[in-house]
Subunit: 446 residues, 2 copies
């Protein structure tokens, strides 16, 4: 029984109380790796694992955990342990954690902070949720245009311990307005007497009241290791680090992906989440979709007479709704992605509609021709004509609706992902059935 602990056996070792090998394993990991493993465990096991960490490592690991796991740990650790870990967090991570905690716990924790850390936390908490100000680091090193490289490097050495990012230094004019950035690399490689003015580059920056998700996306997309954040008067108030930006973008994409798959994101590890938790993340959506799908029953009821006269029409219902649903979701996911990257904006509604109508018509014609040929051979020319015409119409309708929905969602300020794939399928199902039976009635004369 001296098997070594590994990634895959950590949970079993913690569960069975084999603490010595688990401790040796965990304390040998780099902090982000230890955090990644603990984050996947159920709260009770991650608390045991966390307690096995050496003091210094524990603080770093706590900092590397996401706010959900931190909140779980806080509920299970002793208050002295919690106070130390809380004081060591960056202010922006502290603000995020506070949002996850019950108000009474949050209040108690803030009271344990040193006055300086409390003040920094207050700066971040002063910005509304969802804004960049709430996620930026309010601690930074800055340089003035007339500083020389040596002086800035000295400041980095003196204050580097306290700030999140030292690799990009914002450059300010004498009224503290942001005028540029200088990288630590350029400072190090330059002559010590070179002035910041010579080394500074055009900054990519953002405003504290900008949307955190959009700005984080820009930061990650451009690979900016730290983006200066300014207030309404262009005065520097913080920096968004690439680490934090990645976290924001990942959380947003997880949510979008979940919504596109008709569920809520799971905050716990899938394998350890209870059946109840997983069911809860899905059942509401499934229910909403099922209720809206009752629309299709109503539509079919209208055409029950037609169906009774020609039962063969029923055979093609799943095929046609499937084509509509897939075409709609193709268009919706394309436009949702382009919205997310900023390529497309709601004002482009005309251009998107124009494109999707033509794409839908092109695909519909190709697929409809095949449908017409196959169905005519097997079921006769009249059914073939109905199927061919329906495919052309359904593809055009579904592509257009699928392309418009995300823009509509964005305009009325709903998360485009919520509105997209599942709802489009249901909507296209009902509309497609109406088109199908109208065409059938006309062509077949019933």
């Amino acid at each position: 029984m001296t098997a070594e602990t590994t990634d895959r056996t950590l949970d079993q070792d913690l569960r069975d109380g084999r603490l010595a090998p688990a401790s040796a394993f965990l304390n040998d990991l780099a902090p982000p790796e230890a955090a990644a493993l603990l984050k996947q465990l159920p709260p009770k096991l991650s608390t045991i694992g966390f307690r096995l960490l050496s003091k210094g490592l524990a603080l770093e690991v706590f900092d590397d955990l996401d706010a959900d796991t931190q909140a779980d740990l806080i509920g299970l650790l002793g208050s002295a342990e919690v106070a130390v870990a809380f004081e060591a967090l960056d202010p922006e991570d502290r603000a995020e954690l506070l949002d996850e905690l019950p108000a009474s716990v949050a209040k108690g924790l803030v009271r344990t902070l040193s006055p300086q850390e409390r003040e920094l936390t207050a700066v971040v908490l002063g910005f509304p949720r969802g804004s960049l100000g709430r996620r930026m680091s309010p601690e930074f090193i800055h340089a003035f245009t007339d500083d020389d490289a040596a002086a800035v490097l000295d400041r980095v050495r003196a204050r580097g311990h306290q700030v999140s990012s030292i690799y990009i230094v914002p450059v300010l004019d004498r009224s503290r307005r942001l005028v540029g950035v200088v990288s630590l690399r350029d400072l190090l490689l330059a002559e010590p007497s070179a002035t910041v003015d010579e080394l500074a580059k055009t900054p990519i920056y953002a405003h504290a009241d900008d949307d955190a998700e959009t700005t984080a996306g820009r930061c990650v997309d451009r690979g900016i290791s730290a983006m200066p954040v300014v207030d309404g008067e262009d005065r520097l108030v913080g920096v968004l680090t690439l680490d934090d930006a990645i976290e924001i973008v990942d959380a947003a994409r997880d949510e979008d992906e979940a919504r596109a798959g008709a569920r809520e994101p799971l905050r716990e590890s899938y394998l350890y989440a209870s059946i109840f938790t997983i069911t809860r993340s899905r059942v509401v959506w499934l229910f909403v979709l099922a209720v809206s799908a009752i629309l299709t029953v109503n539509v079919l009821e209208i055409f029950e007479g037609t169906l009774e006269q020609k039962v063969a029409l029923a055979l093609f219902i799943p095929l046609l709704t499937g084509i509509g649903g897939n075409t709609g979701s193709q268009a919706a996911t394309t436009v949702t992605r382009s919205l997310a990257t900023g390529e497309v904006a709601p004002r482009d509604v005309g251009r998107v509609a124009g494109k999707e109508i033509r794409v839908g018509l092109t695909m519909g014609t190709a697929l409809g021709a095949v449908g017409f040929a196959v169905a005519s051979l097997v079921y006769g020319l009249d059914i073939g004509t109905v199927i061919g015409l329906t495919i052309v119409s359904v593809c055009t309708m579904a592509a257009t609706v699928g392309g418009m929905m995300p823009l509509l969602a964005k305009t009325i300020r709903v998360d485009p992902a919520v509105f997209s794939t599942p709802f489009i399928s249901t909507f296209c199902d009902a509309t497609g059935l109406i088109i199908y039976f109208m065409i059938a009635k006309t062509v077949l004369g019933i």
Copy 2:
């Protein structure tokens, strides 16, 4: 007509030949911002825009472009311009670009390189596509355990111009094996006489033949600014920078997202892509799905007799296939995501199946109870029973199949996203219909 050029008017200005304001606008941007704008334009316009950049800026912007846009530009720029930009690229970006170019063009370009750059490029090209070695930077600064901080900083100053990453320095023992990492921050903040041995931390590293996507995901997830890459003997051969890791992860997620929406990723900006290009990215998938949906027609044909006896059964077809499709895609997207983050592996197939059967059964029972009640009230107890039982069975089947499919795909080494949502919908449609009519025949006795 002295309107200033902005993000939104750049394309119009380039199209209409208003080059002076466009040039002023572009040259005032930070390189990543200029690259992001040019990347969205059609190739001809981005070439015009690129030519407006000052020489120094042009090289930086070229480096910030993705390989697709670089390949487009290379086709349109003069060979002297191309040779300069190509020489200035990082070796790993150069290897990626070469993969995008026709073999003859690629060969010609490699011939223009200086011997040193050609050798570095050969190192990267020596690793197979998709491996980490192909995407790592083969240029790095390293430290030995017995170096002192001042000596390493001197080396950074001397060689910092040539390497992609100076913020994390890999630490080697005397046989050049990786034993740790030291951050530039710690080197700067330490006493100049401190040895690297005292400052080094446990490295998070990877092997050159590891999968590039998986490793990049780990790098981004952990927020590692540069991850050392070693060969089979643990000797350092390169570093993966966070920038490159983000690029790899983004490309992979775009592809997954596209596949989940039943299309191929669009390599160009949506608004500028031609109808032909957009149609091509979708039509093959739509066609494959439509062909597999013919299965549903066949299934329904088997039950045509049952349908003729009870046409009301047709009313519920889209509702029931919709519930199945949504349940399946909920399970599939959850498991696909957990596979991507490494939480779940194909060996967990039993646990996933166990979870999904129970989740499907729970949701099916809740939704089936409602379905039974509503359908009984409107269509009578017999139809109500059929609908209720079908919903329970379809939910359980769809959740299980949806959860298994991504694991199956991973096992047979197909991209799980390809296999997931669209195919699951089609499969669940056909299977759901069989379940539905079997239950109907039994309950209704027809």
